[in-house]
Point group: C2
Chain length 432, copies 2
C-alpha cells in the first residue's frame, strides 16, 4: 500500500495558508487495527501497521429533528458524515432517499409471516448505491483541493464517478478492464471524462491505480475508492440511516446485504450502532446477513469454516459487481455478522437468475445480478433455518437490471410470437 | 374506433349493485370536440362525433396546503387527478417527484443568461415518465373492476405496465412488434406477464389491440392507452404540477416537451392552467415548445406550414419512443403551442446523438433518445431565435439512456486502450 500522509504531517490542503478543510463533525482518521490517529486528509492506510483508516467523529448533539429538517437526499445525514454542512448545496447528483418497498407479494412467495421490505437503490441517479459513496468522496475531494475524480471499476462505480464529475464540472479518470461489456463502457464514455481501458483484468487495473497514486500526473486526482476510501466508504452508512428512518426510526430484525469488498455490510451495521448510540433509535437486536455468489464467495467460505481470515479466490460468476476475490473489508464483515448472530451464504448463478425473475414478477423490481444474489441468498438462509420467516427483514437491492441484462437474455422472452390476428391471441390465452 | 359505453349507459362497475366507483374530484368524461358528457367508465371516444374523451372535474377547494401535505410521489396531486384519495395507498410503483436539476453547466454551454432546468423523469421506477400515466390508469382499472393491465407499446410503456401490474398482483398483457430490440423485450419479459410479440409493425400492434377491445377474452382487461386513455393521459399532468411546485409554485417562462402523440405537451399546459385557475400559482406567461425528430415530425411540419391538420408520416428515426406517425393529440398540441407563443421544431438523428452527449458531459444525465430530441430542438429554437436565451427554461427528459444505448454505441468509447503501465497513462494524458 502507498501511504500519502504521515501521522505527524498536517492535513493535505490546497495551500499551507488555507484554513483547515471543513469536514463537519468528523474529527480525524483512525486506524481500524491499531487505533493510531491521523488528521483528515487523502490518507487511507496506517503508517504504523498498514491497517485501513476510518473516519472518527464527534456526533454529540446530532438529533432526529436535525436530520428530519434536512433535504430529501442523503445530505439530510450530513451531520453524521465527513462533510461540511453545506456539502449538499454544491453541485452533485443528489443521491439517496430511495424507496423502501413493502414486498408483500414476495413475502407471501417466501412464506414470510413477518413484513419483508426491499430497499431499492436502483432509484439512485445512475441506478446503483455507488452514487452514495461517490457523493461523499466528491465532497472530500473538494475540501482537499482535488479537481479530478478517479477510480478503478468494472461498471457501477465507473458510471457514478463519470456522472458525478460531469455534474460538478470536475474532471474524471475512470480505469476499466478493456474486455468490459460494451454497455457499461458506452454509458461511462457518454459522460465524456477520460476513460482508460486497460489490457488486463481487474487486478491489473487496481495495481495500475495504486501505482498512479503519488505520481505527479495524479496530483490533483482523488481516487474515490483508494486514497479517498475512508470518506467514500462512509457514504454507505446512508443506506442504513435511510432504512431506519423509513421504518419510522427503528431497525428491522434481519437485513441481507450483498458482499463485494464487504464495506457496505459493515457500514450499514455501523449506521445502526451510531443511531442507537445517539439515542435516535431504541436499541433492538438485529441480525446482519451477507450474500455472495458461489463463483466468488471467499467471505461465505470463511464464515462456514469458522475462520477469521479470508482466503482470496479467482472470481467466476455472472454477478460481476460482486466479483472481488480478495475483499478488503471481509474480516470486518465477518465480525459484524458473527456479533449480530447472522450468517454469510452463497448461491449459484442459476439461483441468481431465478431470484431476479422472482423479484421482478412479484414486486415489479428489475434488479441487477447483485440484487438476485441477495434475494437468492435469503431464500437459502430461510431454507437452512439460518434466517427466520417470522422476523421483519430488509433486503438491499443495490443496482439495476438494465445494466446486467445479459443475465436474463436467453432465459426470458415473449410468451408467444403471433400474427396480428385476434384468433391467435385466443389461442395463446386458452387454458391448457 | 370502438365505443365501449353509450352516453345513457351507467358507468361500468364490477356489479350493478356496487356503489359508483370513487374517482375523487373527477365528475365525468367530456368530448373534447363537441362537449358531450359521459359518466366515468372505460370509454374513450364520443358516440356523437368520435372525438376523444377527457376527464372533467370539480376542483373547487383544492389548495396548495392540501398538496404539500401529501406523500413524496405523484399521489400528492391526487385531488387533481381522476383517482380516489386513497389511490396512493394501494400497491403501485409510487412514481413521481423526480428531480428538477438546475443545469448551470448546460446553460453556460448554450449561452443562457436565464436559469435552465432539466426535469429528469428517468428517476421514475422503470426510468421513464410512463410510470406516471400507468399509475393513474392502474387506479382507474381497479375502480372499474378490471384486473389485467394491457397496452400496445414499443418499449417504455411495456416496461411500465408489466412492472406496475407485477407490483399490484394484477395480470398484464403487453403487445409489441416482434422486431423490437432484445433489451426492451427482455426487460418486459422479466416481469413475467403475458408478452405477445406480433409479426408486424407498431401499426399492426395497435390495430390488433383495437380489435381486441370488446372481445370477451379482454373483458377484465384495461388497455391503459386505449380504453383507459382518458385516465392514463391525466397522469401526464403530474409532470407539470411537479415542475411548478419544485420551482416554488410558479411556471418557467419556457418549457420544451418531446412530442410523440402530443398528449404530454397538452397535459403539462393543462396542469399549469389548472393551477393558475385555482389560484395555487400566479398567472404568468409561459411559452410551450414541442420537440420532434426529423424522421417523425408531422407536428413540426404542420406548425411550420401553419396548418391545423396533421399529415401522417411513416417514422424513420432513432428516437423510437417518439415514432408515432399519426399523433392523436397533435392538433391539441399545436393549439397549446400557438396559444402560448411557442413553436414546434425537429432535429436530425445526428443532432439527437450530439445532444445526448452534451447533456451527459455537462450535467451527468444520460438521457434516452427522446431527451436528446428535446435538448437538440431547444438548441435549434435558440439558433433560429424562436426561443430565448434570457427566459427561464425547463427541458423535460422523459426517459433513460440505458434503454437506448445503441444510439451512442459506436459513437463514444474509451479515450485510449493501454497496457497496465504508468508510462502509457502519461502518454495518454500528455498535452497535445
Amino acid at each position: 500500500m502507498t501511504l500519502l500522509t504521515d501521522p505527524a504531517a498536517p492535513t493535505a490542503c490546497p495551500s499551507d495558508a488555507a484554513p483547515a478543510p471543513d469536514f463537519g463533525n468528523a474529527t480525524g482518521l483512525v486506524c481500524r487495527e491499531c487505533g493510531a490517529h491521523y488528521p483528515l486528509g487523502a490518507a487511507y492506510a496506517c503508517v504504523e501497521c498498514f491497517g485501513p483508516l476510518e473516519v472518527s467523529y464527534d456526533l454529540s448533539g446530532v438529533t432526529r429533528e436535525q436530520i428530519e429538517a434536512g433535504p430529501a437526499s442523503l445530505w439530510r445525514y450530513a451531520p453524521l458524515l465527513p462533510v461540511a454542512a453545506y456539502a449538499g448545496t454544491e453541485p452533485n447528483l443528489q443521491p439517496g432517499m430511495t424507496k423502501l418497498v413493502r414486498a408483500d407479494n414476495l413475502g407471501a412467495a417466501l412464506g414470510m409471516t413477518a413484513p419483508l421490505w426491499i430497499k431499492d437503490d436502483s432509484g439512485n441517479p445512475t441506478h446503483s448505491f455507488k452514487d452514495r459513496v461517490v457523493a461523499v468522496a466528491q465532497s472530500a475531494a473538494r475540501r482537499l483541493g482535488l479537481t479530478t475524480l478517479a477510480c478503478a471499476s468494472t461498471g457501477n462505480l465507473a458510471n457514478a464517478v463519470a456522472a458525478a464529475a460531469a455534474r460538478a464540472g470536475m474532471g474524471s479518470v475512470v480505469v476499466i478492464p478493456s474486455d468490459l461489456e460494451a454497455g457499461k463502457t458506452v454509458t461511462t464514455a457518454t459522460y465524456d471524462g477520460t476513460l482508460l481501458a486497460v489490457k488486463g483484468n481487474y487486478d491489473d487495473v487496481n495495481r495500475l491505480c495504486s501505482e498512479l497514486i503519488g505520481d505527479p500526473v495524479t496530483e490533483t486526482w482523488g481516487f474515490v475508492n483508494v486514497n479517498l476510501r475512508p470518506y467514500y466508504a462512509e457514504g454507505s452508512k446512508t443506506l442504513g440511516y435511510e432504512v431506519a428512518e423509513q421504518l419510522g426510526w427503528r431497525t428491522p430484525q434481519q437485513v441481507v446485504i450483498p458482499v463485494a469488498s464487504g464495506s457496505l455490510l459493515t457500514k450499514v451495521d455501523k449506521a445502526w450502532r451510531e443511531l442507537t448510540g445517539l439515542g435516535i433509535i431504541a436499541e433492538s437486536p438485529y441480525r446482519v446477513f451477507g450474500a455472495q455468489a458461489d463463483g466468488c464467495s471467499p467471505v461465505a467460505r470463511a464464515f462456514a469454516d469458522g475462520l477469521d481470515v479470508i482466503r482470496p479466490v479467482k472470481p467466476d460468476t455472472i454477478a460481476k459487481s460482486l466479483a472481488i476475490g480478495n475483499p478488503a473489508d471481509g474480516p470486518y464483515a465477518l465480525d459484524a455478522v458473527r456479533r449480530t448472530g447472522g450468517a454469510v451464504a452463497s448461491v449459484s448463478d442459476a439461483d441468481i437468475v431465478a431470484a431476479i425473475r422472482l423479484l421482478a414478477r412479484s414486486e415489479g423490481i428489475f434488479a441487477e445480478t447483485a440484487g438476485g444474489v441477495t434475494l437468492a441468498t435469503f431464500q437459502r438462509l430461510l431454507a437452512t433455518g439460518q434466517a427466520s420467516r417470522d422476523a421483519e427483514t430488509v433486503l438491499l437491492n443495490t443496482g439495476d437490471g438494465l445494466k446486467t441484462i445479459d443475465a436474463v437474455s436467453g432465459v426470458v422472452g415473449p410468451t408467444a410470437v403471433i400474427d396480428p390476428r385476434v384468433d391467435q391471441v385466443h389461442e395463446v390465452l386458452a387454458p391448457r
